[in-house]
Symmetry: C2
Subunit: 229 residues, 2 copies
């Protein structure tokens, strides 16, 4: 009770949680029963102590000397990620990105159920993508009133994205995944994840010439504990 | 010279670099000349000291008492990210995801030039997507020998992805962005970024019920310096 409780989990740690979950799901499917933190660390290219540290933040899960029970640990991390129950999702914008996400099979496997797609294009409205109907975006508020939805994925042009936040929030959406090429903002109780596809390419080119950069900058200092072995 | 130089930049810090770059590019376009780290921090929802810390890792950029010159800082971070020069990219797999990425406009704006798309589907081969020709994947090695390419984006089915690594690496590709639903591995000199779209949804649902989790786990401890104010 005397430990400092942060307002939120660090981004770095939070990024590792879904990776733990995937790894454990795979191991469970392969029939693994028990696992040491060392084994898990090796598979995840992390350190033993990093894994114990992450799990301790959520109260442990380990049994002294016996490591982790794979199924229990998978379930516990699923609880933390809140994916042991299904989540309804909607996609707004049935362009290239919206269509690709609508057809992505991995979401349903993890309990993310696409219930509706919204667009303004009369040629798309009424048609189906991956078995899900495309609805007129003017019916969004009416839809949300009838079908409470946790998560909305915005795939519209940049100039249409922010205007969608108010009806989504009023309709009870709690999380927004935004692929539009412009950061959107929402009230603090709604979680927004703004995607920047180009950032990933920039991080790739950075990593591709990182050694050169490091050699040029001898004054480099460790930026956070993640970079320590 | 006595500072400990880490082997690689932390993921958390590296994730911030493209965001700095985008912010500075926007500010430069708006005509900003100088900027204090405080101003930049406010715009980026980071702390002043976090920004100075990140920049110091690359040798500074600041002028005592005058803050940062926006254009210079944008250029310096562009150098670090290695995006002040163009990079050729190819996409392998012209399904939904490959098509969506081929049509994404943001890449060209940042100097990532799509030069070719590869697929196995005879109905697609010879056609164009976003003005770029779809080639037969059997010609991949021949293509790379003639047209050296930095970056390959893999958008194939999961079971086809790993087999592409050998010809890509032999062809001189230095970075692979993998959207196939299976982690691929490559020799250490080649950077691989495995994308897991479902992870982003899991992180969203985690954040959506994070307060509950934190209240249930009074033993929570700070996972890294990022979570400190």
């Amino acid at each position: 009770m005397t430990n400092k409780i942060p307002d939120r989990a660090s981004d770095a740690m939070m990024r590792r949680m879904p990776a733990y979950y995937r790894q454990l799901r795979d191991l469970e499917a392969l029939g693994f029963i028990d696992l040491s933190s060392k084994d898990l660390a090796r598979r995840m290219h992390l350190t033993d102590s990093q894994i114990r540290h992450d799990f301790n933040a959520f109260g442990g899960f380990g049994r002294r000397g016996r490591g982790y029970n794979v199924a229990l640990l998978r379930r516990s991390i699923g609880d933390i990620l809140d994916i042991n129950r299904p989540h309804d999702i909607i996609i707004i914008g049935a362009g290239n990105v919206g269509k690709a996400l609508a057809q992505y099979k991995g979401f349903a496997e993890s309990g993310f159920q696409l219930k509706a797609i919204f667009d303004t294009n009369p040629e798309l409205i009424g048609k189906k993508i991956s078995g899900v109907k495309v609805l007129n975006v003017t019916t969004l508020s009416k839809y949300l009133a009838k079908a409470p939805t946790d998560i909305a994925i915005i795939c519209t042009p940049a100039d249409k994205a922010q205007a969608l936040v108010a009806p989504l929030v009023a309709g009870g959406v709690k999380g927004i995944w935004n692929f539009a090429a412009l950061d959107i903002t929402a009230p603090p109780e709604v979680i927004v994840s703004n995607v920047h596809l180009t950032d990933s390419l920039m991080m790739l080119t950075f990593r591709m010439h990182e050694k050169e950069v490091l050699e040029q900058n001898k004054s480099w200092v460790s930026a956070d504990v993640e970079s320590k072995p």
